[in-house]
């Protein structure tokens, strides 16, 4: 059982919304969602990972976020993790991901 991913693009921003369970089964889906944007390094792009509909997040998902951060090659402020529920926020903060991402 895993979640679903939807993507919304504008000129400078890509919003990736994850509904349901964000775990290792989402790996290829999640990667496919950002890969198109990250191959073009000529102009920087903001990523918003919208976790409003995310029920659960595991360490593999945290790993995917790290991978996005590396492959996007952007600075900290350009990846925003938004709308996480309190339980998920706690997991992100336990891992101190607020030092790597902008958590809003």
């Amino acid at each position: 059982m895993s979640g679903t991913i939807s993507i919304a693009r504008s000129d400078q921003e890509t919003t990736i919304s994850i509904k349901g369970r964000f775990n290792f089964e989402m790996h290829s889906q999640f990667r496919a969602a950002y890969q198109e944007e990250t191959t073009d390094k000529s102009h920087s792009r903001r990523f918003i990972i919208d976790l409003a509909g995310t029920e659960y997040i595991d360490s593999s998902a945290l790993g995917m976020l790290l991978l996005l951060r590396e492959e996007a090659g952007t600075n900290e402020a350009d990846i925003e993790i938004a709308n996480a529920r309190p339980e998920i926020r706690k997991i992100l903060e336990t891992a101190n991901f607020q030092r790597l991402f902008k958590i809003t």
Binding site: F24, D58, S59, S60, L62, G63, M64, L66, L67, E70, I91, T94, A95, N96, F97, R99, L100
Partner: protein, 568 residues
Amino acid sequence: MKILIVDDDRINSTVLNRLLSREGHQVLSAEDGRAGVEMFASEQPDLVLMDIRMPHMNGYEAARAIKQISSDRFVPVIFLTAVTDEEGLVQCIESGGDDFLTKPFNRTILRAKIEAMERIRRLHTELHTQKEELERHQERVQQELDISQHLFSNIVRAGNLLDAPCLRHMSVPMSQFNGDLLVASYNPAGGLHVMLGDFTGHGLSAAVGALPLSEIFYGLTAQGYSIGDLAEAMNDKLLDIMPTRMFCAACLLEVDFRQQSLTVWNGGLPDVLLVDGQGRLQHRILSNHLPLGIRPFTPDDRKVAIFELRKETRAFLYSDGLTEATRSDHEMFGSERLERYFDGSVPPEKLFDTIWAALEHFRGTAQQTDDISILEIDCARAGEESSGDRFSQARKKVTPTNWSLSFFFSPQLLQTVDPLPAIVHAIMNLQAPTGHRERIYTTLAELFSNALDHGLLGLDTRTKRTPEGFLRYYSQREERLAALAHGFIRLELTHIPQFDEKQQKIGGEMHIRVEDGGPGFDHRRVHSALEDNTGHGGRGIALVRSLCTKLSYNDAGNCADVVYRWTI
């Protein structure tokens, strides 16, 4: 193809035989069911054409017998029948027949049916071969996994002191390999280092990272490095070897019974819970670092939290597999449910078992989705020795010789590294008196920290007498060390071999001098305070006195001379 015809009607049989022989098949004939089964067993044909009404054994029974004999391979049985009624055909299929052919025979249909059966048979054989291959492969993989697991657990377990009386632990892997790493070992000063690590994911890929980490853990702990040093070395190693999406959430602790302190580095693990003598949650130690293996360390990443250790304190640490354990309706165990046990209703010594039993009960038969680990440190038993062999590794023996060393440390160096482990390591490589490592380390460590804390930084041991002062002491130490601009610490060590009356070497003497460039401190006062043994810290000089033959300070109190004697 080898085809067996079972038919008591000779004309039928002959017609068929001729037909099939002309197609290039090898044909055998039997006159009744029983003879057919016997011939099938001895000749192993690829296909059987079977009449139904025959003497001795009818076609249905013969087909059943044949299917039983050939259970491991597929041999099609085609019934030859004049009946076309439904019930007759159902009986054909029920007795194991694969198809039927109505009399009189049509050559084209016969050929088509045989070809179709041949295709099915080939598919079947192929499937069977693949299945066998898969089974062999699976067996090989399992064997390799078993061997790897054996190696893995031996490497991680070598020197592991999880059986220390003050520790209780439970670690249940989800698969054969545990992605949670749980290790413990004593440092040369007698402090206990404990680590719980939780790698991304689980299973073999998660467990592989545990090997280098356990090696670093044991190696650096034995050399006297601090847990901040350990964390940095592990982080460097994981950055080198692990892919970006893997990391290790980890918590390292040092339990120092002599200084009565608990030092914690927590990067990404759930809160460490400190519980008081009534079983109530007294303090939680939050993760204040990134997990290991994400990015290079900055000086801030080495920072540890220091707590005063009381005898009745118990510390609990666990991996998130515990709180994220789910039961069949997908509800999680959760940290709230866990922390409810720390409200004073459960006696502290029963907490560990109670929590574990509650978890088992909660999970029921639900499938495990992550590795689960929990560890308890019982500070009351922290001073008890483990039955395990503490320093079993063999060292080369060097006969006592004359040598000396001299070190000079500037404030800049003292601010960046703790030089002690490197020095002790160097000494041990020159002359390693077996069984003396910890004593020599402790002697040097105490003299060195006196020179630094009191001599150069002007800290007052008495500050440590109250719990608040205890914490103030360490924050003062940090501030003053960072601001230190002048002064030095000089360490001189001379080794002189000792002889008996027959001029045989019997051991050696280490003359150690530790001098600091500070204004000096009242060693008499420090000393007497220590002999009173008044609690928090400051038992250093008394300890050195008990370990060494001679200890003297100069009048200014900034130069200590010690003689350490050892025998072969």
